[in-house]
C-alpha cells in the first residue's frame, strides 16, 4: 500500500490534489510531492522492504504512485561498491560508489525518475509523453514509453550526437530535433506542455518524476546495513538529485529505519556550468544563471530550477560544492575505470574529480564513510575519449612478433613489470 501523497508548493505551502502540475498558481514556485509518513509507518519497514523486489520498487510505499500500481521495469537497486583502489589514489580510506552506470533499463539514474513519472502519466490518462533531453533522459523516456505502450515525443538540440539519437529512436520514439541549444528546447517543452495534453516528465510531471531520485538515498542506507554515510558526493544539474537524496535520508530517520545523523552533502559541477557551486562558494541566496560551456552536457543547466534548494541543502548539512575543468573530468573518467572497473559518463567524471578534490582540500576526512554517486554509463559519452588512446599497428599471430611488441612498449615506457611473468 502506498502512503497518501499530495502536491504542495515549496514556497507558499499551498496544497494541491494530485495532478499533472509543477508550478504553484499562487506564487509561481515549484510544487513538490509530500508523502504522509504516518500512513507509511506500518508499511515502510525494513522487513517489508527486504521482502520487496530487487529494484527501486521495494520502496514503493514512499513513492508517489497509486496503491495498486504494478511496475513494469525493474529500475534501480544498483550496486554500492567499495572503492579501495580509487580511495588509495586520492587519499581516502572509506570510499564507496553508488553505481547507477548500470541502472536498468538504459544505464543511468534517469531510469528511476522516469519510472515514477510514467507511472503517473498512466494514472493521469496520458497516451503521449515527452521530455527535453541531451541523452540520458531521452533514452529512459523512450524505453519506458515503449514498455508501457505510450507514444513518446523527445525534443533534443539538433546537433545531438548520432549515438544519443539512435539510442532514443531505437525504442520507436518520435525524436524532434530543435534548431537551438538545450535551454531553447527546454523552454519550448514548457510551452508545449501548456498547449498540448501530453505528459512531459520534466515539466508537468516533474514533482512526481523528481521523487524517483529518493530511491538512490533509500538504497544507499539499506546497502550500508540501514545506516547513513558521513558524506555523499552528488553531481548537480538542476539540483534535484542532491535535495531528494537528503529528503530520503530524512524520511528514513523520521520513520526510525536509521539512526538520526546529519549527513554532509557535497555538490559536484563542471566549471563550465557551475551556477550552484558558485552560489555555495559565494554564500549567495540566489542562483546567477550561466551559459554552459562544458563537455558534461548532462549537467549543463545554466539556470537550475532546484539550484537554490540544492545550495541550501548543502549549506545546512555542513557540506560544500566544487567544480572541475573539462580536462579533469576526462582524467577522472579514466581514473575511475582504471582503478575500480567502472566506466562512467562525463557526469560521473565530474563527481569523481570533485570527490578527489574534496579529499585533497581536507573537506572530507579520509576515514569518514563517503559515497560518491555515479549517475550514468560511459558508453553514452565515448566522444570525449576520442583520441585518448593510441592504437598500435596490428602484429602477426607469432610469438616473436608479440615479444617484439612488448619490447617496443617497454622502450616507450608503457609497460610496468614487462617480462616479469615469463617462464
Amino acid at each position: 500500500m502506498a502512503a497518501a501523497y499530495e502536491l504542495r508548493c515549496r514556497e507558499c505551502g499551498k496544497r494541491y490534489e494530485n495532478a499533472p502540475l509543477s508550478i504553484c498558481d499562487e506564487c509561481f514556485s515549484p510544487l513538490e510531492v509530500f508523502c504522509d509518513l504516518d500512513a507509511a509507518r506500518h508499511t515502510f519497514t525494513r522487513e517489508a522492504i527486504a521482502d520487496g523486489p530487487s529494484s527501486m520498487w521495494r520502496y514503493q510505499a514512499l513513492l508517489p504512485v497509486p496503491d495498486d500500481y504494478v511496475p513494469s521495469t525493474p529500475a534501480g537497486w544498483t550496486p554500492l561498491l567499495r572503492a579501495p583502489r580509487l580511495a588509495e589514489r586520492i587519499g581516502a580510506r572509506n570510499l564507496w560508489l553508488k553505481n547507477d552506470a548500470v541502472c536498468l533499463p538504459t544505464l543511468s539514474f534517469k531510469d528511476r525518475v522516469v519510472a515514477v513519472a510514467l507511472a503517473n502519466a498512466q494514472t493521469f490518462g496520458f497516451d503521449t509523453v515527452g521530455c527535453s533531453s541531451t541523452g540520458n533522459l531521452a533514452n529512459a523516456v523512450a524505453a519506458g514509453a515503449a514498455r508501457l505502450g505510450l507514444k513518446a515525443y523527445i525534443l533534443v538540440p539538433a546537433d545531438l550526437e548520432a549515438a544519443k539519437i539512435l539510442n532514443t529512436q531505437v525504442y520507436g520514439a518520435t525524436l524532434v530535433r530543435i534548431d537551438g541549444n538545450y535551454d531553447h528546447v527546454n523552454r519550448l517543452c514548457s510551452q508545449i506542455a501548456d498547449r498540448y495534453n501530453w505528459g512531459f516528465v520534466n515539466v508537468n510531471l516533474r514533482p512526481y518524476y523528481a521523487e524517483g531520485s529518493k530511491t538512490v538515498g533509500f538504497e544507499i542506507a539499506e546497502q550500508l546495513g540501514w545506516r547513513l554515510p558521513d558524506n555523499v558526493v552528488v553531481p548537480m544539474a538542476g539540483g534535484s538529485l542532491i535535495v531528494k537524496i537528503r529528503k530520503a535520508f530524512k524520511e528514513l530517520i523520521a520513520l526510525g529505519l536509521v539512526e538520526e545523523k546529519e549527513v554532509r552533502f557535497f555538490g559536484a559541477q563542471a566549471t563550465g556550468c557551475s551556477p550552484i557551486a558558485t552560489a555555495v562558494k559565494t554564500g549567495a541566496e540566489h542562483i546567477e544563471p550561466q551559459r554552459p560551456t562544458t563537455i558534461a552536457r548532462s549537467l549543463a543547466i545554466g539556470n537550475p530550477a532546484d539550484g537554490i534548494y540544492a545550495a541550501r541543502a548543502i549549506r545546512e548539512s555542513g557540506g560544500w560544492a566544487e567544480d572541475v575543468s573539462d580536462v579533469e573530468i576526462v582524467s577522472a573518467i579514466q581514473e575511475l575505470a582504471e582503478t575500480e572497473g567502472v566506466f562512467t559518463e562525463t557526469a560521473g567524471g565530474v563527481t569523481t574529480a570533485v570527490t578527489a578534490r574534496l579529499y585533497a582540500h581536507g573537506r572530507i576526512h579520509p576515514d569518514e564513510l563517503t559515497v560518491s554517486c555515479i549517475t550514468g554509463n560511459g558508453l553514452k559519452t565515448t566522444d570525449v575519449l576520442e583520441g585518448a588512446y593510441e592504437q598500435h599497428a596490428a602484429i602477426r599471430p607469432r610469438l616473436g612478433d608479440f615479444e617484439t611488441y612488448l619490447d617496443d612498449r617497454k622502450e616507450e615506457g608503457e609497460l610496468v613489470g614487462g617480462g616479469e611473468y615469463v617462464r
Binding site: R89, N181, N186, C189, Q191, R291, A300, V324, E335
Partner: protein, 143 residues
C-alpha cells in the same frame, strides 16, 4: 513600438484566461507594471512580500534569457517576443566548444593517472586553480 508577450498557463487564473498581450513597454520594469495594471489580480502573485518579482519567474526575449541581455536595462525593440516562464529544469546544451577531446592531446597511458592531474592543471590553468589530487596550486603529485 509594440512587443508580443506570451503568458504561461500558471498566470491564466489571474489574467481571465488571457494568454497573450501586446505591450508598448520600453523595458522589463515597465512591462511588469503594465501587466499589473492590465491584470490587477496578478500583482500580489507576481511579487513577493518585499515587492520584488518572484525569483522563479523568468523572462526571455526572442528566446534569450533577459538576464543575459542586461535584464531591466535592456530596451525592448519593436517586434520583440517576450516569453514569461516559471522556472523549469532538465538540462542544457553547451553553447561553447564541446569537441574538447579532439582539440587536446589526450594520449594518456595507463598507470599515469596522477600525472593526468598535473597535465590537467597545465592544460587548463585558466579555469583550474589547483590540482585535484594534491590540492596545491603548484602541483606536487605529478612529475
Amino acid at each position: 513600438m509594440s512587443v508580443r508577450v506570451l503568458l504561461p498557463n500558471a498566470f491564466q487564473k489571474h489574467t481571465n484566461g488571457t494568454r497573450e498581450i501586446q505591450s508598448s513597454a520600453g523595458n522589463l520594469p515597465a512591462l511588469i507594471t503594465e501587466m499589473e495594471t492590465t491584470f490587477p489580480a496578478l500583482r500580489s502573485h507576481l511579487r513577493d512580500e518585499s515587492g520584488q518579482v518572484r525569483k522563479f519567474i523568468n523572462f526571455y526575449v526572442n528566446e534569450e534569457d533577459i538576464r543575459f541581455l542586461g535584464n531591466e536595462k535592456y530596451s525592448f525593440q519593436d517586434g520583440d517576443e517576450v516569453l514569461v516562464i516559471p522556472s523549469i529544469a532538465g538540462g542544457s546544451f553547451a553553447d561553447g566548444d564541446t569537441r574538447f577531446a579532439q582539440d587536446l592531446p589526450l594520449r594518456l597511458r595507463s598507470g599515469q593517472a596522477t600525472r593526468r592531474a598535473h597535465f590537467a592543471q597545465k592544460q587548463d590553468r585558466g579555469t583550474c586553480r589547483c590540482c585535484s589530487y594534491c590540492g596545491q596550486e603548484e602541483c606536487i603529485c605529478g612529475d
